[in-house]
Symmetry: C2
Subunit: 466 residues, 2 copies
C-alpha cells in the first residue's frame, strides 16, 4: 500500500519540484536520501524518495502545495539531531531540508527577541548575540536548529531556570500542509503575552513536523548573567541527591542547571574526561547571578548540600574551568559508549514528579541489573527528567529484545508514577503505544481530531506521534 500513497512520485513530479527550487536543489541520489532518512536514533533508516532544499518561504509554500495536490508525504529536516526517528520517511515522499534558509532577523535588544529561520542553530544564534548582553538559553546538548528544537519541544540542562522551548517561542511562521502561510501569533507580532484565541504557538511547538513546516521562529532572549559558578557534589545515595534538589527549589535558589549523574555515569564520565569524580550519586550545579547574589547562592547551596550529606564544594568560576566541567557532562553520551566499545547507544527520556524520582531511579537501576543491560543515568533532576544511556549490541537479537522490553517497562513505570514517557525527546516513531497509555483514549482521540483538522490527508510527517 506504500506505492498507492504516492501515485505521483513520477519523473514529472520530480521535474515539477526542480521547476520550483532549481535542479541543483533537488536530489534523488541514494546516498543523499539515506543521509536524510534517519536522525541520531536507533530506528532503521527510512529514506525519502527525493530531497529538496528550498531557499525561501515562498518556495516551501509552492513545494508543499505541489505535494499536497499530488498527495505526496512531506518530511521536514533540520539538523537530523533528533533522537526518536522524527525525520525517517516511513512512507517515502519528499524530505524538505530547510538548512539553507538561515537568516537571523529582527534582533531587538529592548524587546529581548529575535527571529530565526530553520537553518540557524542554537550555537550560531548565541554567536550572533555575542556582545549584546543577551543569549538564548535552551540547550538540548546537540547543536540543533532552533526551529527543529521548537518542533520537538526540546529543553535540556537550563530548563529548570529558563524553561523549555515552549515559553521561549513568541511566534512561528508555519507553512501548512496545503502551502498556506500561518503566523501562530499573527503576522509580525511578538508581544510577551497574549490572550487572543487558542494558543497556536504552543500547539505547533512539540508537533514534531506533523502539522506543518516551522519556517521561522521568533524567540525570547534572556540577559546574560553577570557571573556564573559551577560545582560538583557527591552524595551517599540517589535519595540524598534528589532531596538536596527539592530543598534547593524550595529555598528558591534560582539554580540555572542541576544535573544528576548516577554512580555508573559519574565513574564513566570521570574516566572518559580524565577527571577525578567519585563513583557516587552526583549533582553538577550551575548558578547565575550578579557577583553578590552569586556569593549568597553559593552559601545557600553549600548549606543544603551539607545537610544532605553531600561532599564539600569547590567552585569553578573561570570560563575554562567551567567549560571543562560541562564538557565532561556533555560527553556523557560518549563516556557511556566507551563502556562497551563498538556498541550502539539509545537514550530513554522519562520525566516524573520529583517526589517520585528516587523510587523510579532505584527501581530502574534494579531493572537494568536484572535485565543484564548497561545504562548509566544522567538527569535534569530539577525537572524530574532523566535518561538511561543504554549501550547495547544491536546485532544481538536477544539483547535488542531486552532493550525494547526494558524501555517499555521504564515508560510504564514513569506513567505509573504520574509522569510522562518523554520529557524532551518527543514521541517520534517509537513511543506511540506509550503515548496512548499516557493520554488515554480521549486524549489520543483529541490529538487525532486536531491532526485530521489541520492535515486531513495525513501528508505531514506521517507515521510519527499518532
Amino acid at each position: 500500500t506504500r506505492r498507492s500513497r504516492r501515485p505521483s512520485l513520477s519523473p514529472d513530479f520530480v521535474e515539477a519540484l526542480r521547476a520550483v527550487v532549481g535542479a541543483p536543489n533537488v536530489s534523488t541520489a541514494t546516498a543523499v536520501r539515506e543521509q536524510h532518512g534517519h536522525d541520531e536514533s536507533m530506528h532503521p533508516c527510512a529514506p525519502p524518495d527525493v530531497v529538496v532544499w528550498p531557499q525561501a518561504v515562498g518556495q516551501v509554500q509552492e513545494l508543499a502545495a505541489l505535494c499536497h495536490r499530488c498527495r505526496v508525504p512531506m518530511v521536514p529536516f533540520g539538523t537530523g539531531t533528533g533522537l526518536e526517528g522524527g525525520v525517517n520517511a516511513v512512507q517515502g515522499g519528499v524530505c524538505f531540508d530547510l538548512s539553507r534558509m538561515d537568516a537571523i532577523a529582527e534582533l531587538s535588544l529592548e524587546d529581548f527577541s529575535v527571529t530565526v529561520e530553520p537553518g540557524v542553530t542554537r550555537k550560531a544564534l548565541n554567536k550572533h548575540l555575542r556582545g549584546t548582553g543577551l543569549w538564548f538559553p535552551v540547550d538540548p546538548g546537540a547543536d540543533a536548529s532552533l526551529c527543529g528544537m521548537a518542533a520537538t519541544g526540546a529543553s535540556g540542562t537550563n530548563a529548570v531556570r529558563y524553561g523549555t522551548m515552549r515559553p521561549n517561542v513568541l511566534n512561528l511562521r508555519v507553512v501548512l500542509p496545503d502551502g498556506r502561510l500561518l503566523h501562530t501569533a499573527g503576522p509580525r507580532r511578538q508581544p510577551r503575552k497574549r490572550a487572543a484565541g487558542y494558543d497556536l504557538t504552543s500547539l505547533f511547538v512539540g508537533s514534531e513536523g506533523t502539522l506543518g513546516f516551522l519556517t521561522q521562529a521568533t524567540l525570547r532572549l534572556h540577559p546574560l548573567p553577570e557571573a556564573t559558578a559551577v560545582t560538583v557534589a557527591s552524595f551517599p545515595s540517589v535519595g540524598a541527591a534528589v532531596a538536596c534538589t527539592v530543598q534547593v527549589l524550595q529555598a528558591a535558589v534560582p539554580v540555572a542547571r542541576i544535573e544528576f549523574l548516577d554512580e555508573v555515569m559519574a565513574d564513566a564520565c570521570g574516566r572518559f574526561s580524565q577527571m577525578e569524580l567519585p563513583a557516587a550519586a552526583t549533582l553538577l550545579l550551575e548558578l547565575h547571578g550578579s557577583r553578590r547574589s552569586l556569593a549568597e547562592q553559593q552559601q545557600q547551596m553549600e548549606e543544603i548540600v551539607q545537610q544532605n550529606s553531600g561532599s564539600s564544594l569547590a567552585w569553578a568560576e573561570g570560563l575554562d574551568e567551567r567549560e571543562q566541567l560541562w564538557s565532561m557532562r556533555h560527553n556523557a553520551w560518549y563516556a557511556a559508549l566507551a563502556l562497551r566499545p563498538g556498541c550502539q547507544g539509545y537514550s530513554t527520556d522519562v520525566c516524573v514528579p520529583i517526589s517520585r524520582l528516587p523510587d523510579v531511579v532505584v527501581e530502574t537501576k534494579q531493572d537494568l541489573q536484572a535485565s543484564g543491560l548497561t545504562g548509566p543515568m544522567v538527569g535534569h533532576v530539577g525537572d524530574g527528567n532523566f535518561h538511561c544511556i543504554l549501550v547495547f549490541n544491536s546485532q544481538d537479537p536477544d539483547e535488542a529484545q531486552r532493550i525494547h522490553a526494558f524501555t517499555q517497562r521504564l515508560g510504564r513505570r514513569a506513567l505509573a508514577a504520574g509522569g510522562t514517557c518523554t520529557g524532551e525527546h518527543g514521541v517520534g516513531l517509537g513511543k506511540r503505544a506509550l503515548l496512548q497509555e499516557e493520554l488515554g483514549q480521549e486524549g489520543l482521540d483529541t490529538l487525532r481530531s486536531i491532526k485530521a483538522a489541520l492535515d486531513p490527508h495525513n501528508l505531514m510527517n506521517p507515521g510519527k506521534v499518532l
Copy 2:
C-alpha cells in the same frame, strides 16, 4: 433562528436536567438567570434559559451529554469576574455554575503542585496554602476561580516574574462537549515538563469555555519569598518610566511586579486612597528574595531609577505598609470610576513589544484627549500590557459610540505596533473582529478548524472568541 438552535429546551428537557443534579440545583428563575447572564463587562446581559449547579464531574459529564444530544448551547460559569462577556448566553441554553465543586486535593509540597476544582478561587487556594511555604502567584486582581483564570488565560501583576496561567497549569480535567472526559496531560499526571504529543493543556488554557468545561486544574506552586519590598517612583515622562523598566529587565533584576500608572491614574489613586502620590508617570515596584538578595536588588533598583530621572525611593517592607500600597493599586478601578460618579467603566487590554510601549501610550493619551474621553492608564509594564480604564456614561449614545471607536483604534494601534488586542482579558464577545485582524485569515481559519474538530455542533459557549 435562536429558537431553532434549542428545539429541546422544553419542560421535559429541564426535568431531565433535574434528574441529573436534583431539583434544588436547577433554576429557571429570571433573577438567577440574569445574575448568570453577564460578567463584569460592559456587554448587555444575555441570560441563559436555565442555570444548573453540578456537584461532581460525573454530573457535568451527564449534563453535557444531555445538552449535546439535544443540541442545547452550554455556558461555563465560575465567579463571573471576567471582563469580556465570556459568560453571556448569547444563544441561550444552559449555564453550568461550577462554583459548588470546590475541592482542593493532592497538595504536594515536594512537587510544588496542587489540584483544584472550579469553585476554588485564588484567594481560597492561597489561604489553604498558608504555613506550607508555597503560594500560587498569578493575580488578575479579582478573586477569580482558578479554573476560570485558566479558561481566560489570565495573568496580572506578578506575571513578569512568575508567568501567566499557561506555564502554571500542569494538567486540566476537561468535560468535552459530548460529555467525554479528557485529561490534557493524561489522567493523574503532573510532570514538570513533557514532550508527549500536542500540548492540549496550553490549547485549553485561554479557550474561554469554547472547547469544553475545565472541571479541575493541577497547578504549579512557587516558594514564598523570604522577604518582600515595595516602592513607588515618579518619572518625568512615560518614556522615562518605560526606559527604566527595560533597564531593570536587562540587568536581570528578578522584579516580581512592575506596574505603571499614568499621571491621571496616579493622581486619581492618590486622592482615592488618601495617599500622597504626585500626578506623574509612576512605577509601583515589588521585589522578592532572600534578605540579602533583596538588599542588592533594592540597590540596583535605586541606581536604575535614578539614571532615568525617577524620584528617590522609600521602601515598604512590613506587611501592612506593603498592603496599603497595593490596595491603592488594586483600587485603581474604583479610583477611576470616582473621577465621574455614576458612570460605567470598561478596561481595554492591549499588549505591545516593550520598545513600542512609550509611543503607543503617548498616542493613546492624545487619542483620549482628542476623543474627549476619560481613561486613566494602568499597566503591567514589564510585559508591555496596559489598560485604559474608560469611564463613560453608557446612557449617552454619542459617548458610547466614541468609546467604541476609541477601543477599536487602540486595538489597531497595538496591532500596528506588533502587539495583541488582548494581553490577558480574552477575546470574549467584543474583540472578535480585532482577533481576525490580529491573526489574519489563515490564523482564524486554523482556530475555526480546531473549534470544529472539538465542538462540531458549536455548542460550547457559542458566539465567543470566533
